[in-house]
């Protein structure tokens, strides 16, 4: 263990820990924009700078490992002044349209601008301007809002293993794009959307469906494959408007295109909403009582005439454990047959 002090507090962490992680383990906040705990440290945004006694310049805490007896100060007037200037520089080339931005209220940049009280633009000048939108159906890219933190690049490479994008060009022209700005090998998992600190990357399906106000968040499990990813449904007025995932889930917050973007079937107008009974080959709407009575009488007659084994039941890998338990109980205890199966073999 390495022993050091941060803001005068003694802290002990394993060798190789960064100053940022050491501080956060002691619940000492340090602002960051380009850092993500699951991705390689990047040192790009420079907001995590701290003072270390004996080093006569600020160091980026996300890329500097702790050393024995290190004395770290995370907040001093000089450091806070530099952080504010960094924010002002970022915001000097950032659209000031938080009032219509999808990310408002959940935006790391907006939050820092608020805490540092950045109101005026001291560095007014040329701004990046990106024309044209791509036609992918999932991800809305608003590249004027990109702060080049590189999280999307790292998550695509390090977590998804796809490497669809990287930072091209230099200086003011630097931007995130696929190779040659055209050969996109994207899988549309949306991992980049989930780590983007600003409104540069958002889900197209979320647009103007609601931000933070009146949103109810419900933690549940994805309805698709057997991975069992934890998802959070964002619900507004009885409609799922967005899906996200928390870092503490077994899927570590990562999702696939179906899990992240495949939820709108829930609100499909094609959903069945009333029982249907077929008469002369055509369905007509019926009440629950009529439909239930028909089922009870038909199954009863068939059971009486041909025995319980003339009836079968298929349960569902889509339904819950509790429902499946009840269904097999119904087939075995009520109908009286073991003719019960589901699509495990398919």
């Amino acid at each position: 263990m390495i022993h050091l002090t941060i803001n005068g507090l003694p802290v002990s962490v394993p060798e190789g820990t960064t100053i940022l992680d050491a501080a956060r383990s002691a619940d000492i906040p340090i602002p960051t924009l380009c850092h993500h705990p699951k991705l390689t440290p990047y040192g790009g945004c420079r907001l995590c700078i701290v003072e270390v006694k004996g080093i006569n310049r600020p160091v980026t805490s996300c890329t500097t490992p702790v050393a024995a007896d290190m004395e770290v100060a995370t907040t001093t007037p000089a450091i806070e002044g530099m952080r504010k200037t960094i924010l002002e520089l970022i915001l000097s080339d950032h659209p000031n349209d938080c009032m219509v931005c999808e990310k408002a209220g959940d935006c790391a940049l907006q939050e820092l601008a608020y805490f540092y009280g950045v109101r005026e633009n001291r560095f007014d000048g040329e701004r990046r301007c990106y024309a044209g939108k791509d036609r992918n159906p999932f991800i809305d890219r608003d590249m004027e809002k990109c702060i080049l933190c590189g999280k999307c690049v790292r998550v695509c490479e390090e977590v998804q293993g796809v490497g669809a994008i990287d930072i091209a060009y230099r200086g003011f022209n630097a931007k995130i794009c696929p190779p040659f700005e055209k050969d996109l090998s994207c899988e549309f998992c949306g991992q980049c959307v989930s780590v983007c600190p600003t409104g540069a990357l958002t889900g197209k399906a979320w647009t103007q469906r609601g931000r933070q106000k009146d949103i109810k968040e419900v933690d549940t499990i994805c309805p698709y494959c057997g991975c069992g990813c934890g998802i959070t449904l964002h619900v507004r007025r009885n409609e799922i408007v967005r899906v996200s995932s928390r870092e503490e889930t077994i899927n570590e917050g990562w999702l696939c295109p179906k899990g992240r973007f495949g939820y709108t079937f829930v609100n499909s107008p094609e959903r069945l909403h009333v029982p249907l009974i077929k008469e002369k080959g055509v369905f007509r709407e019926a009440g629950w009582d009529e439909a239930m009575s028909l089922i009870v009488s038909k199954l009863g007659k068939i059971k009486k005439k041909y025995g319980p084994d003339a009836i079968g039941g298929l349960a569902s890998a889509r339904c819950t454990n509790e429902e499946n338990y009840l269904f097999q109980k119904f087939m075995r205890a009520v109908i009286g047959t073991n003719n019960i199966d589901h699509c495990a073999r398919l």
């Binding site: 998804q160 549940t220 991975c227 069945l272 097999q328 199966d341």
Partner: protein
């Protein structure tokens, strides 16, 4: 599942998803993991970055091959020969765990003899995989400290699917690669709660918790819990029910949230079978191809409209929570079943969902320790017998439920339908990333349909050239059971003579073509190999 249950006494993933990143060798066979289990694949990629060697055994050049140390392109349906070839090398080079074999297994000598003829040369002749790669695979798996095998339907959906599973189990047993963290045999389950449906006894021969219906002591336990006499004869599997309906022996079928018309082999046969029934009830969230054939259709609630639990592929029970109200008069499946039961004279009433889980726990000790409150954000993995038990991330730590695990000698059997002059291509079916199963959910999602709008048949450039087919051409693909029309997708993924069709698309349903021939032990149909003919559409 039947295969693993026979060998070990329990059929499920032996390890858990978070353990994958600490595997040092992975054998991924018959699983297109990045598309069918994308988040499990992320852990495999993480293992790769931490230095693990991945062996991919797949007839198609799937995306995971990019991360592999070795790719074995065996011919579809030759898994047994490939695995036996690998095991031959392990035996010959003594890369086996003698202590494990003597202490925890039985039947080794008979198994050893059965492997004799599967020299790498012989395996090469059957599988098409070069001998040196078979040897290399044995070295990677045999010398690893924490190797695990991962498979899905590419292993099981064969007439010899259970034999394939036995071969995988033999491999793990002879090397002692079971019962440790990040070391084991892992069938990845394909649907959100397919593990749970099986656990809950929605299978014809077992009550909840894999307890056999034909064992008197078990049946008595359920009879006294439920207060009725219960049938003692195992029932019919789904495919057998279709046959029985066809023959007129099955008169009524109640289907809750399944779409066998699209998901089962030989669609025309399934459709006819269902039409032959006197009475068909379908309870679903959409008017599926199966629901269209029903006499009564009941509107049900989807996952976002109900409380309960799902059990994922690693035996993990997690909480499902209601987020929105169901549309119109749609009701929860549980509510529908309770009312039907009560109307049929069996009083089935639960005041809240967790009461059902408590009843399950009284009948199946492996989940007795699980409560909704304990599930939290990451759930609990069964076995979890008591309220202070932390759940079980990996199985068989102290031994196997059936005592000693058994080796099963496995002979190679060719698939039932092989290509010939009339039907010269091998068709293999499966899923793709953007659609799901029969498409009843994903095909209602505009964004997913925008990137994966139509059915296609994946064919490599050499075969396409010999048929004078260009990318995007409409083709007619026919088997002995039917024919469908769909676009050509020229890709380097399939091998020569092999084509792939995803089964999600109702308008060109791959299962019109597939062979309903079944594995004799677990009744799984041979969806991964059948013979087809390919022609340009309209060419006559």
């Amino acid at each position: 599942m039947a295969g693993l249950a026979t060998v070990f006494g329990s059929g499920a993933m032996t390890n858990s998803i978070p353990e994958i990143e600490n595997n040092d060798a992975l054998l991924v066979i018959g699983s297109n993991t990045t598309e069918t289990h994308p988040i499990v694949a992320l852990r495999m990629k993480k293992a790769f970055r931490k230095g693990a060697q991945i062996i991919v055994a797949d007839p198609r050049k799937i995306d995971l091959v990019r991360f592999s140390a070795l790719w074995l392109r065996h011919k579809p349906g030759t898994d047994v020969a490939l695995l036996n070839g690998v095991m031959h090398v392990l035996l010959k080079e003594k890369l086996i765990d003698r202590d494990f074999i003597s202490e925890r297994t039985e039947g080794f000598e008979a198994f050893r003899k059965s492997i004799d003829s599967f020299t790498p040369e012989a395996a090469q002749r059957i599988t098409g995989v070069p001998k040196k790669d078979i040897i290399k695979a044995a070295h990677i798996y045999g010398k690893a400290e924490r190797p695990a095998v991962f498979y899905t339907m590419g292993i099981t959906q064969h007439t010899h699917g259970t034999q394939n599973v036995f071969a995988i189990a033999n491999l793990a047993l002879m090397t002692g690669n079971l019962g440790r963290e990040s070391t084991g045999v892992n069938p990845l389950r394909g649907q959100n709660n397919v593990q749970g449906s099986t656990d809950m006894g929605c299978i014809p021969n077992q009550f909840p918790g894999y307890q056999r219906v034909d064992m008197p002591s078990i049946r008595e336990k359920f009879e006294s819990a439920w207060g009725v006499r219960l049938p003692d004869r195992p029932g019919l599997t789904a495919t057998e029910m279709a046959d029985a309906a066809h023959e007129g022996d099955l008169k009524a079928l109640y289907i809750m949230g399944e779409n066998p018309v699209i998901s089962d082999p030989d669609t025309n046969h399934t459709r006819k079978a269902l039409q032959h029934l006197d009475f068909l009830v379908v309870q679903d969230i959409f008017m599926t191809e199966t629901a269209e054939l029903a006499d009564v259709v009941l509107p049900a609630s989807c996952f976002a409209e109900k409380e309960g639990t799902f059990t994922n592929t690693e035996r993990r029970l997690q909480r499902v929570r209601r987020a929105v109200a169901a549309p119109g008069q749609a009701r929860e499946d549980s509510e529908i079943i309770m009312e039907l039961s009560t109307r049929m004279g069996f009083d089935m009433k639960y005041r809240f969902m967790e009461e059902i889980l408590r009843e399950i726990g009284r009948l199946w000790p492996a989940v007795a320790g699980i409560t909704y409150e304990r599930l939290g954000m990451r759930g609990l993995q069964w076995p979890c017998p008591t309220h202070d038990h932390p759940g079980t991330p990996y199985l068989f730590k102290g031994g196997f439920p059936r005592g000693k695990a058994s080796f099963t000698p496995v002979e190679y059997e060719p698939s039932r339908e092989l290509p010939d002059n009339e039907y010269p291509f091998v068709l293999t079916t499966g899923r793709q990333l953007f659609q799901y199963h029969t498409g009843s959910m994903t095909r209602k999602v505009a964004e997913l349909n925008a990137v994966a709008p139509t059915a296609y048949v994946e064919i490599n450039a050499r075969d396409a050239a010999s048929l004078r087919v260009a990318d995007g051409d409409m083709l007619t693909v026919s088997s002995r059971r039917g024919s469908i029309s769909l676009q050509a997708l020229i890709s380097e993924r399939p091998a020569d003579g092999v084509v792939f069709i995803p089964f999600h698309y109702r308008e060109a349903a791959a299962n019109v073509l597939t062979n309903p021939a079944r594995d004799p032990i677990c009744n799984i149909p041979e969806l991964k190999v059948c013979a087809v003919r390919i022609e340009k559409a309209g060419a006559g």
